[in-house]
């Protein structure tokens, strides 16, 4: 399973390239790799749901941070593997992460204006 990044970086020298490079077929992970990711996702989800049911452990103030961390990991796994951000041209990541961070920043500030800075 090769995870080489795209050929575009090689193109940086500006030399015209032939068609193969123009639209490179990335060597994508095998199906089995995808299944493994899905299994990890399933396990994390199970843990998340577990936090809801189990009453023995006292999560206390760790509950919300751990839920958020698990959420971020799931988000990241889907984005990097299933959406191929890991293998694809970094421009895609920039566009998407740009929007994502902007959204987080702006809305967190707005909610803060309601809740904490009011």
């Amino acid at each position: 399973m090769s995870t080489t990044t795209s050929a575009h970086e090689a193109a940086a020298d500006g030399a015209p390239e032939d068609a193969a490079h123009e639209h490179p077929e990335h060597e994508h992970p095998s199906d089995w790799a995808y299944v493994k990711i899905a299994l990890i996702l399933a396990v994390i989800t199970a843990v998340e749901v577990f936090t809801y049911f189990e009453t023995v452990l006292d999560w206390g103030s760790f509950l919300i941070p751990s839920l958020l961390i698990m959420m971020v990991i799931k988000f990241w796994l889907v984005a990097t593997w299933f959406m191929h951000l890991k293998f694809d041209n970094p421009i895609f990541s920039k566009m998407f992460v740009g929007g994502l961070l902007l959204a987080v920043g702006v809305y967190v500030a707005a909610l803060a204006a309601f809740e904490f800075w009011a």
């Binding site: 899905a38 988000f75 909610l111």
Partner: protein, 224 residues
Amino acid sequence: MTTETSAPATSDADTTVAAPATPGDSNAPGEDTAHGPSTGISNTKLAMWLFLGSECLLFGGLISTYLLYKTRRGPDNLAIPTDVFDIPFTSISSFVLLMSSLTMVLALAALTRGDNHGARVWLLATSMLGGVFIGGQVYEFTSFLREGVGFTNNPASSAFYALTGFHGVHVSLGIVMLMSLFVASWQGKLRQEHSETVEVVGLYWHFVDVVWIFIFTVIYLVPA
């Protein structure tokens, strides 16, 4: 004060040399020196990623609205969604949606390999899983309504239905796209060369999934 005097970027000599050929002789009709995308990446994929970036702000707005309102019961103190959440049920439908991302990516992998039949099966599986999710949402909405959480109850329930409803509409559109691909595949029109189309639809599908990952945690699991 150092005032640099020069043409930017290139030396003059280069510039001169680059002067275009006189029209008429060098570029004969039809000799269009076509050029590919400057970045070498696909227009359609780039467009989809940009769209998804912009969708982050759409869902962000809806999620923030819900977070702001989630405990507001209104003057009549009516029920709010958190009163009636059925976490086990939602966990299952969330899991279904999550797994549909797997089938989606397998569909793409199959098609890229040239396995048209496999692609078709996985596409169908993906849209079925999406259908199960939507079915679950319809069930959830109706049972919430039965339990007295109506859209117009209070800010909390309005915000809940708006957020999950928008997400549901996104999933439904995704199903329509997947089914169209399935039909195309069935008619033999969806082949290896089209894997980018499947990839782009897949991106949309996975995005809808990651939004739900967010919603499931922040809206359902994080205690009020």
